[in-house]
């Protein structure tokens, strides 16, 4: 609907560019649909995903993740870049296995209580189904990043108490490190309402959408 690029801008010239390891930045002269011509800077970013993992007991899994660029430990759902040719559902399995260890597989109980509505396109390895929540543009003012948001209901065979995981469990390409946190929906809502918590826009958006289908 509204996402259709019915009247996109025109690129007139790339004035300068700077390539980082994972993403690059360009300053480009554009003609906007309204007719105005000007130079704009924007980040060219590979596609990403963020997953809302729901434990069988109803809590959600988050990371307290150190972000060097802002010098703070933010409360975030697991996220990452999509590998070449990888679907969001496959990437979610990779991310969660990286955090929690390999999924021991759906138990009989889990298979009964956790039907897979998207399994046909995800392949037989898809133990925990990916429920798409929406397509986020985390920063549409100066980044072309597309982030797929989805919910994964973890089976009862997963360990719901990974509280012994040490700092440094997760180490991102950007130097970020993280620690696992499990919260009830009410506790997460309370943390986000407290005024003390710096709000990660991607996480709050994913949570808003997950709440719609809780």
């Amino acid at each position: 609907m509204a996402d259709a690029p019915d009247n996109p801008h025109q690129s007139l010239a790339i004035e300068a560019s700077l390539q980082g390891e994972a993403y690059g930045f360009v300053r480009e002269r554009l003609r906007l649909p309204m007719g105005l011509e000007a130079s704009f800077g924007w980040l060219r970013h590979p596609p990403t995903l963020m997953v809302v993992p729901r434990w069988a007991d109803g809590r959600v899994l988050l990371l307290r993740r150190y972000r060097p660029g802002v010098g703070q430990r933010l409360l975030e759902f697991p996220s990452g870049r999509l590998a070449a040719g990888e679907t969001a559902a496959q990437a979610a399995v990779r991310l969660l296995d990286g955090l929690l260890g390999p999924d021991p597989g759906p138990s009989a109980e889990g298979a009964d209580t956790n039907p897979d509505p998207h399994g046909a396109e995800d392949g037989p390895a898809m133990a925990a189904p990916w429920e798409p929540l929406g397509q986020l543009r985390p920063n549409p003012g100066y980044s072309d990043e597309h982030m797929a948001l989805g919910l994964v209901r973890l089976g009862p065979q997963r360990d719901p108490l990974p509280n012994d995981r040490a700092e440094g469990l997760l180490r991102g390409d950007d130097g970020s490190t993280g620690q696992l946190v499990s919260l009830s929906p009410a506790a997460l809502d309370g943390a986000l309402a407290s005024g003390d918590e710096p709000l990660d826009g991607r996480t709050v958006t994913a949570w808003f959408l997950a709440r719609c289908r809780w």
Partner: protein, 186 residues
């Protein structure tokens, strides 16, 4: 839950390269992290911004359909703008609300600070709820490069649009709407 950890800035060791573009700057930096490790990555330096959820007396929200070249789409967004140097975020928001929507507000509540992309941008967006709105007979002109349409939406219609799967979702607007709904008890 454990109390929020205090800020722990990383130490900037070197800016290997940088590129300026209007209000933002992209730097490739080498950092020393609080745990002693060193890492090199690119980051956008941004002056910060403000965003408001404007709510009319009848409960409808004032929202924009705005063209964004970086994603080649027209997104549903609440009014927002970049801070001028040294500017108080509320002052920015009062100005941007008038320019972008043609309304002024006399009741403001802070909804917190959000980080749209903490992995590659240091931008902080200050969120507000704007109430007691009045239309301006002669609203001030906005920025020349803004391509937007002003809409009035019922909260339920906004919720439905966000959850529909048809919209490319603007993270700062949905974050602000989540916080506004908490404050408004919706």
């Amino acid at each position: 839950m454990a109390p929020l950890p205090p800020p722990e800035p990383s130490r900037l060791l070197e800016t290997a390269a940088a590129l300026d573009a209007r209000k933002i700057r992209f730097e490739i930096n080498r950092w020393q992290l609080p745990n002693g490790l060193e890492a090199t990555f690119g980051i956008i330096r941004h002056p910060g911004a403000s965003l408001a959820v404007p709510v009319l007396a009848d409960g409808r929200v004032v929202i924009l359909r705005q063209y964004r070249f970086a994603v080649a789409s027209r997104l549903l967004e609440f009014p927002a703008g970049t801070l001028d140097e040294g500017e108080d975020p509320l002052t920015t928001m009062e100005r941007e609300l008038q320019e972008e929507t043609g309304y002024a507000a006399s009741r403001w509540d802070a909804l917190g600070a959000m980080l749209p992309c903490p992995g590659y941008s240091d931008e902080v967006i200050h969120l507000f709820l704007a109430r007691d709105l009045r239309p301006l007979p002669n609203p001030p002109a906005g920025d020349a490069d803004e391509d937007l349409e002003v809409l009035l939406m019922e909260p339920a219609a906004l919720d439905a649009a966000i959850a529909s799967g048809d919209e490319a979702l603007d993270g700062k607007s949905i974050t602000a709407w989540y916080r506004a709904r908490q404050l408004l008890n919706l």
